[in-house]
Symmetry: C2
Subunit: 303 residues, 2 copies
């Protein structure tokens, strides 16, 4: 049961030859979710052999070009590849207003629908919900309405141990209660702990994508203890002023959020084009939060 994050772009707005602009792909039990869609995303999908057809949900953090300019190419290619199932786009309402005439001109007579889901980036709200996953918006602090996204896997029902069913002679009602997490009480009044009766397959996993944003004081409480936080670190400490002006984060801001939220791992990205080698940004961030890694185009993390 995979829960894999693949980075397709780790760069900020100005292009570089080394890094594409923002896009992550989350694979939850073989369903693919896209977060942001910078220019060239479809090229990266090809490069890293990711299925276009399995992408049904696209989440857009905000309406700056480096997070959306890949969308028209995606829609066109969906069409050219014969797509016949809907694609859902979760974004600020302006996206539909601005993009729809553009899509309509360049990709006419689609055999699928583009279903828009308007989100309010200033609210923390559930915007997607299925059997295995919840997606929540995370209000951020940027120069245009922006939100991050929290992907929370749902618990899987535990497997009941066959030997325990036989040993304690569990009936259908008992099994149902154990599956719901209850302990079992024998006719003699002995309490058998749920953990003795079941095999936990896995612990639900969680991942948050937070870009673009200055330090957002209310963010840490919304992402307490998650497995992986992707947080932008557009600038190093050398350009703190520039970060403030443009409402981006420094390495220290990213480390601070990770620390305050007590996340298990931090991945920084959205690097300014001036950092040819973002290793310096990694060193800085680690001073505030040790378990940090650099986003890199093509990197896949399996949680």
């Amino acid at each position: 049961m995979n829960f894999d994050i693949t980075v397709l772009g780790s760069n900020s707005a100005l292009p570089t030859a080394q890094r594409f602009s923002s896009c992550h792909i989350l694979n939850v039990r073989n369903k693919l979710f896209m977060v942001d869609c910078g220019e060239g995303t479809q090229i990266q999908l090809r490069k890293y052999k990711i299925s276009f057809a399995k992408i049904n949900h696209i989440f857009i953090s905000h309406l700056h070009g480096d997070h959306v300019f890949g969308l028209p190419g995606m829609i066109s290619s969906f069409d050219l590849l014969g797509r016949d199932h809907d694609v859902h786009i979760y974004a600020h309402a302006d996206l539909k207003r601005i993009m729809d005439p553009y899509f309509a001109f360049f990709a006419r007579q689609l055999n699928f629908k583009i279903v828009y889901h308007d989100i309010n980036p200033s609210k923390h709200a559930l915007v997607y919900n299925d059997r295995s996953l919840e997606v929540w918006t995370l209000p951020l602090n940027h120069s245009t309405p922006t939100c991050g996204f929290l992907f929370k896997e749902k618990p899987v029902s535990p497997n009941i141990r066959r030997d325990m069913v036989d040993f304690y002679k569990l009936g259908i009602k008992d099994i149902k209660l154990v599956k719901e997490g209850k302990d079992f009480v024998t006719p003699d009044g002995e309490i058998v702990a749920n953990s003795r009766l079941t095999t936990q397959l896995h612990v639900p996993r969680s991942y948050a994508y937070c870009s673009d944003t200055a330090y957002a004081p209310l963010l840490p409480q919304l992402i307490k203890g998650i497995d992986l936080l992707y947080h932008e670190a557009t600038f190093g400490l050398d350009l703190e002023k520039r970060a403030v002006q443009t409402k981006h984060s420094t390495t220290a801001d990213a480390a601070r959020v990770a620390t305050e939220a007590g996340v298990k791992q931090l991945m920084i990205g959205h690097f300014s084009a001036r950092y040819n080698k973002p290793e310096t940004l990694l060193i800085e961030t680690k001073q505030g939060f040790e378990n940090t890694i650099l986003a890199e185009d093509g990197l896949t993390l399996k949680l």
Copy 2:
């Protein structure tokens, strides 16, 4: 005095990991001209170290996504890079109608103007003219109004040989006439050929970009004897039917145009994503026109 063509994208509509979509850069005496602007063009500019600031004129062959989806990123990056001089876009009038609201949303308060020049793709007309270059539209035969572009360098005034000026005692009026190409007649009636008096620096060069198109019967007469013809060959002979359906060219179509026009060299491109290695397309084309090369991302031809 350079006249260099650099290929930034040699692929057709569906993305591949190997090739970007259509864009050529022509460098004429250090002025850069862009032809088409597929998704990822700005990434390719970075990769091949081409100046954004020197690009002032962008010619768009037609309004299919793989020829224009790089424009919004270019305009945004022009802005982020501090551009303060206008950019001229030559395209079908629909481009302005469709793109302008999009540009206006994603790149507000520009310090430069986007100057649109409406072109009629069905006419052969002069659309750009400066001291060193003329650009002519070339009507093509595609599923939407489409034209190619013919770039014709102008002759450079010949340099007059200093020793001849002294020897024949040429006055200012004589020099002017010789610069205009006239022979000189001495007071004794001796005719001195212009070629003896001058040093020809170079022969004017010419290049045509023709994509996308099915075989266009009127095209060869418009590009007679040019130095370089870029002609699409989206499909090989194995997919002739598909070429007819989609109004694209096969390798044989491209060779036929090159032969009928008597061009010096043919470059084929706009390859369908199904051709991982377009060498087979080259072999086929050479059967009809020997002096053919393959377009390849990053290739620069110096004419």
